[in-house]
């Protein structure tokens, strides 16, 4: 055994010993099993859990097992954490998230922003880990306050005080938060932006809910000693998709990122921005709704940016102030235009052109994989580039039932469509789609046809597709000619699944 393997084994053993594990089965386990069996498709559990667990990010460490908690009555106390002062029932616990490890375990990197800056729970019995759902209903609520990049625009830029609002989360099948309901609020105060998330168990009393509301409303805020690390500059809509422009300073550079529902893209600028603009662009939306979003940093003296398209039309950009703490010499701009090349001109206060730049791609698509919307798509994989991490995908439509019959007849078929499905593939366009680094390849195990899958190896898959021939790996078969469902999430392919066809 070499040094690395030896150290690896020791580190893993050490970390495993630190992991708290359940010492008894939770109440309602049998009921949960039966409920699970009744769930059609089994799709509720983990996906719901991930949402719910994400809401209270790690706060399960705070929750006790086996002891009921007092309602929110009685004397109160006041405490301050990370610049937040809060008054809460004396029987409750104000917990430092860093000390409680809520901002990441020992194996995870530190999180500058967003980070949890305050947690409030019925107890600080921190040595007991576990799901509230496993604790027999003893844990009745938890509140976390997370600090976010400073919001200069949007809902979270609203000043304190704000109201907690109900979140739409179905936790009925959650193992750890069964039947919980959740509230959230976002606001800015003292030059900082926060988001609070509150979860209540069904057993939470009215007193506890009222006391939690009072504690939430009692909060006051001081400026952070660290200054602004990141800021949300603005929001907009392009191609029907909302986007958010954010700035942060990383390793001495100003970074801007545009985040939309289907993709996130970033651009870095060496401060200060110069007269030669370095815009970043992407296209949002589909079909005739597609629109180009161009953004970038501009020198501080640029007060107006205009984009001239090939047809001569002019679009004015929105100019955003970047907080001096992030970059005292730069601001930012963003504009939405029709896809196509544009010339950018930046004007100073006197109307002189002091900066210029171009977006020269006829069809700007810095992220070619953004050419399919998120979701599941049927079609044919025509090529796989393992090194580039991309596939060429021929989108088609897998129809069944009446749709299949109608398409079959429209294509000249007579009688019922064979095997009750029909594939329509009218468009020859091939899309180059990026594979997620951990994209899953689910191939049919033809030896146990046809509901069993195995996770395939991408290189063998690429070989089979490239040769259009079956490739075998032991007893497993990679079919060179088959039909596929791909799952696109945030613009990248996260799963390729083989479709059975007779």
């Amino acid at each position: 055994m070499n040094d690395l393997e030896h150290d690896l084994r020791e580190v893993l053993d050490e970390d495993a010993r630190r992991v708290p594990t359940p010492i008894s089965a939770p109440e309602g386990l049998r009921r949960s099993v039966r409920r699970r069996q009744a769930v059609v498709g089994g799709v509720v559990g983990l996906s719901a859990l991930a949402v719910v667990a994400g809401i209270v990010a790690g706060a399960t460490t705070l929750l006790p097992v086996g002891s009921s908690q007092p309602a929110g009555e009685g004397p109160t106390t006041t405490g301050t954490l990370n610049g937040i002062t809060i008054t809460y029932p004396q029987a409750w616990s104000l917990i430092d998230p860093d000390e409680a490890g809520l901002n990441g375990s020992s194996m995870m990197a530190e999180v500058p922003l967003p980070r949890i800056v305050l947690a409030l729970a019925p107890t600080d019995a921190g040595e007991t880990f576990g799901c509230p759902g496993q604790a027999g209903g003893a844990a009745t609520f938890v509140m976390t306050v997370q600090e976010e990049p400073l919001a200069l625009d949007g809902a979270s830029s609203q000043p304190w005080p704000v109201q907690l609002r109900t979140m739409t989360v179905d936790a009925s099948e959650s193992a750890c938060y069964p039947g919980w309901d959740f509230l959230r609020a976002g606001w800015s105060a003292a030059g900082r932006t926060f988001e609070a998330r509150v979860g209540f168990a069904p057993a939470a009393t009215t007193d506890e809910r009222d006391a939690l509301s009072s504690a939430f409303a009692s909060m006051s805020f001081a400026a952070s000693g660290r200054g602004v690390a990141a800021a949300v500059l603005g929001h907009g809509i392009a191609g029907g998709e909302p986007w958010t422009l954010t700035a942060q300073r990383t390793e001495g550079r100003l970074s801007l990122s545009l985040e939309a529902e289907t993709l996130g893209t970033g651009a870095s600028f060496v401060s200060p921005a110069t007269s030669k603009l370095q815009p970043a662009s992407t296209v949002l939306g589909q079909g005739s709704d597609r629109q180009l979003v161009t953004f970038g940093a501009i020198p501080i003296d640029v007060v107006r940016v205009e984009a001239t398209a090939a047809d001569g039309s002019v679009v004015s950009a929105e100019v955003f102030d970047i907080p001096d703490e992030l970059d005292a010499d730069s601001n930012a701009f963003a504009l939405v235009a029709a896809p196509g090349p544009v010339e950018l001109l930046g004007y100073d206060a006197s109307g002189e052109v002091v900066a210029h730049g171009t977006v020269d791609a006829a069809e700007p698509a810095p992220f070619p994989w953004a050419s399919l919307q998120d979701g599941r798509h049927f079609g044919y994989v025509r090529a796989v580039d393992v090194d580039a991490g991309t596939i060429e995908f021929d989108l088609a439509y897998f129809l069944s039932g009446e749709e299949a019959n109608a398409a079959y007849h429209a294509a000249g078929g007579t009688g019922p469509v064979p095997n009750d499905y029909f594939v329509v593939n009218d468009n020859p366009r091939l899309r180059t789609l990026a594979l997620a680094p951990d994209a899953r390849l689910r191939l049919l195990d033809w030896n146990h046809c046809c509901e069993t899958f195995f996770d395939g190896d991408l290189a063998l898959f690429a070989r089979a597709i490239g040769e259009q021939e079956d490739v075998t790996d032991g007893g497993l078969i990679y079919r060179g000619q088959s039909q596929w469902w791909i799952t696109v999430e945030h613009g990248v392919v996260t799963e390729i699944e083989e479709q059975y066809s007779p």
Binding site: N2, D3, L4, D7, L8, R9, V11, L12, D15, A16, R18, V19, P20, T21, P22, I23, A25, P26, L29, R30, V33, R36, G42, G45, L46, A53, G58, T60, T61, G104, S106, M107, A109, E110, P112, P114, F129, G130, C131, P149, A175, C176, A230, T246, T250, S257, E259, G264, G266, A436, P437, D438, F453, F454, D455, D457, D473, L476, E489, T494
Partner: protein, 174 residues
Amino acid sequence: MSQTTGIVRSAVDDRADLDDLYVRDMPDAVRLAALITGDPDMAQDIAHDAFLRSVGRFRHLRQPEAFEAYLRRAVVNACTSHFRRRTVEAAYLRGQARHPAPVDEPDHGRRDELRVALSALPPRQRAAVVLRYYADLSEQQAGEALGCSAAAVRSMVARAMQTLRERIPRSEDT
């Protein structure tokens, strides 16, 4: 019928046996999930959910004695799905924010460096490493848990070890 088979078969309907099964198998499942995800809190959720799913589907297993392996596979799948979801959910900026400049990170020594490097591996590679070096599974067994061939496990572990060596310059294999 093995002891495990008997417990699992009756567990679906018998509360006491189900509790026994939970107490016996959950600690390993939670540890495995924690090592793969690096998140002990989420590991509780993942392992619990995988347990419910495994017990719920147990009657459909061809080899009932393989419950532990089935649960292990469910945990590994849930962990990699969890990471995929996290990856998707992570906005670009947040991704940047979660990886501060190395110069800002305190030096916690070789083991912490190893932890950080391990946490940065792609999820399936990390799972393969954990299954091989923590759970001490053979390549064949690890492949069953990961849903891939032994050769694929060997490849994933090799790539993971190469990455770890590159990220920890002080590690000199003997």
